[in-house]
């Protein structure tokens, strides 16, 4: 019950109380513009330096008020995940909820404290605004609602990947990474904002947003279908891809990028090769009757073969070694890429009607001329099988090996004397592969590791992936940066070590390779074996003298046009031998080559019909 006594009409003098109002300030709103609160949600601001044009603001806008507009003057860099699109706001639709601010992956967009805009009837287009850092009318009202830790809706943390601990992995070649389980994969996939930066950055333009979304929806068959649209080396890329996509990922601008590579692996691991064959299917294309030979069964060659076979051509792949797979099989250690995964990819490719002939050296068992005679087109995908040498004194010693040779022996199961101590020259991923493989063999044989990696580059400019460096160190490998190899020290015919000097600079002023050393800082690293991992080259002997002469070359590499065709119209080259440097680039190259060959074969058809 209330304390109000409404029946009490009060004293007759009660109205005099109103006199007190003469002394009070009246309740008025000031007429001059009022400054909005510090977190006011007014017109948008957008920091064009930070904005990458990912369109996430557009996606979360619940009024469809945001349109992405191309600003040609701005830089565009797909590899870094930067587009020259910027959000434009239709203030006829905007409701100033600021969800665009909360979900912006880069934190570029914010709302200002500015809230007044009027115009005449014929200036209505002034409600469609491309926000910049200056605000709606170039008057600096300052930021209002902006991105803080509190209202940030971007999940910056990646799902942790379960993997073998250093102790349980360093004496075997078991795969280190276990892969996501279903729950982890769905959570990881749900972090994606579907901006498609990954698609633009990927050499083969994989439909990553689509397969990530399919994984999120737990439709793994659809994920596999999306993956196979652009990449028949899905298991392989799901494990060892250099993941340009993750570099470009817009979530990675402030947090950890989506684990796109691991998600691909998760989707692929859910199916056996037979199931994948059913999901991908074989297009019902009639046989064209055209024959294509592919030399080399690496990712470039087999991708070309996969595409051409699906286009109805008869494809034969010639492989000199006893198993197909190329560099991923012979160059990548099993703990990173188990052979069964590679075999699974190849099995699906073979199911498309690709014939792979192993143990067949072109140039020795079959000549190039014969190959040309038997086929309408020939593709060279030879890879980079020959290791380069440092040519320092003593590097011709029998215990100095090339990393590619060593890795191939290990894959092949060839026996060789495992050294008690080894030195690796080089700082790239191949050097790490060699060092970690030798370290595993040492631990198997002797129970301890003595491997030293000497790299020219310092750690700030290191070539190998960060995780390779970290994991190598965990496995007991010593990594020394800024060390330039000088000589392999041989005593009484035995290799005992490598002497190195401290690197002062690697390139000269013209950015040419010309390392300078500090002569005073010399070290000797003990090693019964020295492994050179400073780069590889292609062995093109199989071409034969005549063909080699007739083809165009560019700095020791075969000259090719944009589609991979050499100066001979029937001969293509693809993969590492012409463009580097990894599996996914080789896959992209394979697709390009296959398209070009298909056009060439169609043209043959037309010519045949006309003559």
């Amino acid at each position: 019950m209330t304390d109000i006594d409404y029946k009490d009409s009060g004293s007759i003098l009660a109205p005099l109380k109103s006199l007190s109002f003469f002394g009070r300030a009246s309740v008025t709103e000031p007429l001059e513009p009022r400054l909005a609160a510090l977190r006011y949600r007014g017109f948008h601001l957008n920091d064009w330096e930070k904005c990458v044009g990912c369109s996430t603001c557009q996606k979360v806008c619940d009024n469809a008020a945001i349109t992405m507009v191309k600003v040609p003057a701005l830089p565009e860099d797909p590899l870094q995940g930067i587009r020259n699109l910027r959000p434009a706001i239709d203030y006829g639709r905007c409701c100033w909820c600021a969800l665009c601010v909360d979900l912006c992956p880069t934190g570029s967009i914010s709302l200002s404290r500015e809230y007044v805009h009027t115009c005449t009837d014929d200036e209505l287009s002034s409600y469609f605004v491309l926000p910049d850092p200056k605000g709606m009318h170039n008057e600096l009202f300052g930021e209002g609602w902006n991105k803080t830790e509190e209202n940030d809706l971007v999940d910056p943390v990646r799902q942790p990947m379960p993997e073998l601990a250093p102790a349980s992995r360093s004496d075997n070649f078991d795969e280190i990474v276990h892969g996501y389980d279903k729950q982890q994969a769905i959570i990881e996939a749900s972090r994606c904002v579907q901006c498609g930066m990954c698609h633009d950055a990927c050499p083969t333009h994989m439909d990553a947003p689509e397969y990530i979304r399919a994984i999120w929806q737990d439709d793994l068959e659809e994920a596999v279908r999306q993956i196979y649209k652009t990449n028949p080396f899905a298991h392989t890329c799901g494990r060892v891809c250099t993941h340009r996509c993750e570099t470009a990922c817009s979530i990675g601008k402030r947090g950890e990028p989506i684990a796109i590579r691991w998600l691909k692996r998760y989707a692929m691991d859910a199916f056996s090769p037979d199931q994948v064959k059913d999901i991908v299917g074989r297009p019902g294309v009639p046989a064209s009757g055209r024959k294509v030979a592919i030399v080399g069964s690496g990712p470039a060659g087999l991708t070309t073969a996969y595409d051409l076979a699906r286009m109805g051509h008869q494809v034969t792949v010639y492989e000199g070694l006893d198993r197909p797979g190329g560099m991923p099989r012979w160059g990548i250690p099993e703990y990173r890429l188990p052979y069964a995964s590679l075999d699974a990819d190849i099995e699906v490719i073979q199911a498309m009607g690709v014939e792979i002939r192993c143990n067949t050296w072109i140039g020795r068992d079959i000549s190039m001329e014969q190959l040309h005679l038997d086929h309408d087109a020939v593709v060279l995908t030879l890879g980079l099988q020959l290791g380069r040498s440092t040519r320092i004194p003593g590097s011709d010693h029998a215990a100095v090996h090339k990393a590619v040779d060593l890795l191939r022996w290990i894959t092949h199961g060839e026996t060789f004397d495992v050294p008690r101590s080894a030195v690796v020259i080089g700082g790239g991923n191949v050097a790490m592969d060699a060092a970690r493989s030798i370290a595993r063999l040492q631990r198997q044989n002797f129970g301890q590791v003595k491997v030293t990696v000497t790299a020219l580059e310092d750690f700030d400019h290191f070539l190998a992936d960060d995780e390779e460096v970290k994991e190598s160190a965990e496995e007991g490998i010593t990594i020394l940066d800024s060390r330039g190899p000088q000589a392999c020290i041989v005593e009484e015919g035995r290799l005992v070590g490598l002497s190195t000097l401290k690197v002062v600079s690697i390139f000269d002023e013209q950015h040419r390779f010309a390392p300078k050393y500090d002569e005073g800082d010399r070290q000797v690293h003990e090693g019964e074996m020295i492994i050179e991992a400073i780069g590889q080259m292609t062995d093109t002997d199989l071409l034969g003298e005549e063909l080699t002469e007739s083809l165009d070359w560019n700095r020791g590499r075969l000259q090719i046009d944009d589609d991979g065709c050499t100066s001979a119209p029937w001969l293509w080259a693809a993969g590492d031998m012409v463009r580097g440097p990894d599996v996914v680039h080789a896959v992209a190259d394979g697709h390009r080559t296959a398209r070009s060959i298909h056009q060439f074969l169609l043209a043959l058809e037309t010519k045949g019909a006309l003559s």
């Binding site: 409404y6 009409s9 609160a37 969800l99 809706l153 959570i187």
Partner: protein
């Protein structure tokens, strides 16, 4: 917009007139019409006629992501938007099994009570205006503006706060906010005697409002009347106390009631609730600094947020009465169905039609405003 209201009819008796009361008129906080049939000054029949503010919120929500709806829901009730956000968020949290951090719950209560204050100031100012007294309305709106300043500071928006998201609230209080809130509450306290002089002990208002549009407690219960309108019939029912949500069970407040159930009692209950809301806010000012922790539970990426399949019903006490939100999810990234049990639809249709019949034409607006119905919430 009932079709039959606009059909050609036989002429009524010559001493009866049919008046279109609205949709624009001073009796309600939005567009809402009443077809009244008058015999002289006396209303002999009335038909409520809503639909002028129908924007299809419930259907619209089915086409938007769970998170996008937070920008939509406050629009369902303009004078008192906070309960909409909170109830929707609570329903989604219930579906997801999300635990809302304590600090977020306190901040939600802070926002709800501020919103109740603002809504009540608006309402009894409006009620006064329908009796021809415009000063309380000007004062009410001006004082409400002070509360909107606080909303602006806290949430970035003056009317549509869009402050809640499923999982908690979007921002913590800014620096010095509690002091400014305390100052504003002191100011409102100091204004109460003026409102009493001007309105509640003002014989002009008392005489007009007393015994106008009375509801009995039985009628109220039968018609689904809730909130201040129910409490004005003497029943102390308040969801905040009888089915506590958030942290209301840790707060000390009374449920004001009045017996007569007339327009006067309804507005008086609101006036007394102002005092209780100020009391609650003072407790929050004391307690909030002692409650640490996050203001939001982690939620998934809003663009890829699937809420587990199921249904949730949440009820809270808005300034108009009991507000219920029924949300159904089919496990996808958008609601499957949403239904809002707004208190206003009961008040503005069956109760209003009944109360207006038999009253005098000059009381129609007063009865409407004393029921404090919110047309956008009737129409949804």
């Amino acid at each position: 917009m009932r079709a039959e209201n606009y059909e050609a009819r036989n002429h009524p008796p010559s001493n009866e007139f049919e008046i279109n009361f609205g949709p624009n008129h001073p009796g309600i906080e939005g567009n809402y019409a009443l077809k009244v049939k008058v015999h002289g000054d006396k209303v002999v029949a009335a038909r409520a006629d809503g639909g002028y503010l129908h924007r299809g919120f419930e259907k619209l929500m089915e086409q938007r992501l769970w998170i996008q709806n937070i920008a939509l829901v406050p629009r369902i009730c303009v004078p008192d938007p906070a309960p909409m956000e909170v109830a929707y968020s609570m329903a989604v949290e219930q579906l997801c099994g999300l635990d809302v951090p304590a600090r977020a719950q306190w901040l939600r209560v802070l926002q709800l009570e501020l919103s109740r204050l603002a809504a009540h100031l608006f309402t009894f100012g409006g009620h006064a205006a329908t009796t021809g007294m415009y000063s309380p309305m000007f004062w009410g709106v001006a004082d409400r503006d002070q509360l909107l300043d606080l909303f602006e500071e806290l949430t970035g928006g003056r009317v549509y706060s869009i402050y809640n998201i499923p999982g908690g609230v979007r921002r913590d209080i800014p620096e010095g906010f509690l002091q400014r809130l305390s100052d504003t509450l002191d100011y409102l306290d100091s204004r109460l005697p003026d409102y009493d002089d001007l309105l509640f002990t003002n014989q002009v208002f008392v005489t007009r409002a007393k015994e106008t549009g009375p509801i009995t407690q039985t009628q109220a219960l039968e018609w689904g009347v809730t909130g201040p309108n129910l409490r004005a019939t003497g029943l102390a029912f308040d969801v905040r106390r009888d089915d506590p949500y958030l942290v209301y069970d840790q707060l000390d407040f009374d449920i004001p009631t009045e017996e007569p159930g007339d327009a006067w009692a309804r507005t008086l209950v609101r006036r007394n609730e102002l005092i209780q809301s100020v009391r609650i806010l003072r407790q929050i000012i004391d307690l909030l600094p002692r409650i640490d922790g996050p203001i939001r539970a982690p939620i998934p990426n809003p663009l890829a947020w699937k809420v587990p399949a199921g249904e949730a019903y949440v009820r809270i006490e808005s300034s108009k009465g009991e507000l219920g939100w029924y949300v159904v999810s089919d496990g996808s990234e958008k609601p499957y169905r949403v239904h809002i049990r707004g208190p206003s639809s009961m008040h503005a249709v069956q109760v209003l039609e009944h109360l207006v019949t038999g009253c005098r034409i000059e009381d129609v607006a007063q009865i409407m405003f004393s029921l404090d119905a919110c047309p956008p919430e009737v129409d949804r």
